[in-house]
Symmetry: C2
């Protein structure tokens, strides 16, 4: 099996390294390329959000509450708690007749350091809308409202909202419903554990699906990459640069997934130690490799700092970087 | 070779894992126990500070400028920028006739989240005294002053201060001077790259040395663990709990070193991916193992949260922990 790592360098020497497992899979679930253990089971975390949002669209809740591309992009987002993200989450709640205090997720400092520091300086009391998953949760609450389900416990295993989502996850990954490991995500919603290969299968299908709900979510993410993450964040910058050639979504603990519709492929990777900084460099290396092999265009302009993030000392001088080593192998 | 990992769990399932290399070595450089690659070469980072501080004491600078156990503890510290740490660093500078703007290190937010947030809320402009290495740098400046060396560039390779330190590092590790990899640390001082086994040898020797300078530094660290790190930090809590049975010092990027004087052993470990959260759990597992094998006392009361740090969701509920798996092997 090919070994694929992200090396952390200092003064030209490899100081630390991060092992990455990768699965590149066709929509028919054929493994095209891999590194490490493509059958590695881990939690999908936020890279599952497009699939967690499918019932919201399919069941008619999105239409009923007037959720357009912006709201759907936010439902799939791990946003930076920028003012636009918080306002949109509140708008989704209002539209479905819900209140912020019904959100199961707790607050946390913004994933954007600038936004987090501004909030701290201003003495803002963080509330659940600040959670990077508040759009997903607003969507789950809207789904419960739409079906007339008691929203209490909407984020927990066993609630109809989560049962409905689990059905979709099973369908898109091709896994038996009971094969999905269930855990509690950082935002308190159910998160699903499954092999990277199955995640990649779902993403390959998501990239080319003609299912109207999948199509709307995919197009929403591509139309509003600024709402899927935030200023300077990888998902936003990558989808902006790729000009529709790839849909990407990061997850916590080193997970990153992508769809390459033109190649009909899906990608899922896991930085084995969960390092969040290494996920984007790993994904960009995989996407460049696959694009070259498949002969498809994938504009990479302006993504150099995501492909090889520089490391600085306390005087702001570059001391090293996070760089890819090793290679993907063909399956 | 034994495999030793820190597992990151979520809902009872292993989500991510961190591989750890360990060397447990006698003062005679005999490998007693190991995991992963005990010959792994990496940067010693701040776990080298006691050795970087030896010339300060040996050459008479500490005595000349009135540096007692508190100042020497701070010279060996990666402190939390608490008021006491900043004040002591300034006092060291004043005593040797230096100014804060001569410190080569840049500022950074405190390693203590509470201190960092307080500074941000208060709108404090961070200056070099805030750097966790400001005590080490104040000591280096004092050494330059004492010898009448031009302090310009005192932190950089080639300056007499760094040459003098490199001699000591070579002596204590038993490595040829030229075998030491040289890099630039986060604080801009020279950092040294060498095998874990050599780091552990130096620590074993440091723990039992009758060299007056080593003894003074060792006793300073043991007498003032609050100055070596800070409130709630691992080095402070561990040395407080151990009641003189171990000297410990963390380094950046997952390095942790320790001396167990009663067993005449030194420990050096590296979390291969550099995860700082995993270093203390790994060290505590190694120390417990060694103490049991050697039949020496090592009080562990109150260290449970360092041995297995809990992981929380955004509502503050426990979702998992960082726990040790695998084992050390005897060499």
């Amino acid at each position: 099996m090919s070994t694929f790592v992200i090396e952390s360098t200092r003064s030209g020497f490899v100081e630390s390294f991060h092992v990455v497992s990768v699965a590149v899979v066709s929509a028919e679930s054929t493994l095209v390329a891999a590194a490490g253990d493509p059958d590695r089971v881990t939690f999908w975390r936020s890279a599952a959000k497009p699939f967690q949002s499918l019932p919201l669209v399919q069941d008619g809740a999105a239409d009923r509450y007037g959720f357009g591309p912006r709201e759907l992009a936010l439902a799939c987002a791990s946003h930076s708690s920028e003012p636009v993200h918080r306002a949109l989450a509140m708008q989704m709640l209002r539209a479905s007749g819900c209140e912020e205090n019904q959100l199961a997720c707790g607050p946390h400092p913004s994933l954007s350091q600038a936004v987090a520091e501004e909030a701290l300086r201003a003495g803002v009391a963080l509330t659940p809308r600040w959670n990077n998953c508040s759009g997903k949760h607003a969507g789950m609450l809207a789904l419960a409202r739409h079906h007339g389900w008691d929203p209490t416990g909407y984020a927990s295993a066993g609630h109809p909202v989560q049962e409905r989502i689990q059905d979709e996850i099973a369908k898109w990954t091709g896994l038996p419903r009971d094969a999905l490991v269930k855990g509690v995500d950082g935002c308190l919603a159910v998160c699903f554990g499954l092999p990277l290969r199955a995640m990649a299968t779902a993403w390959a299908r998501f990239g080319i699906s003609e299912d109207p709900a999948a199509r709307r979510l995919r197009e929403a993410m591509l139309a509003h990459p600024d709402l899927v993450a935030g200023k300077g964040r990888a998902c936003t910058d990558l989808m902006t640069a790729f000009q529709g050639e790839a849909v990407v979504k990061i997850g916590a603990e080193g997970v990153y997934c992508a769809a390459l519709p033109r190649a009909r492929l899906g990608v899922a990777l896991k930085v084995e130690d969960g390092d969040a900084r290494c996920a984007a460099p790993a994904l960009l290396t995989v996407l460049r490799f696959v694009a070259e092999q498949q002969g498809i265009p994938l504009p990479m302009t302006g993504l150099e700092h995501h492909a090889e993030p520089r490391l600085f000392n306390t005087r702001g001088e570059v001391v090293g970087s996070l760089r890819t080593a090793g290679s993907l192998g063909f399956a």
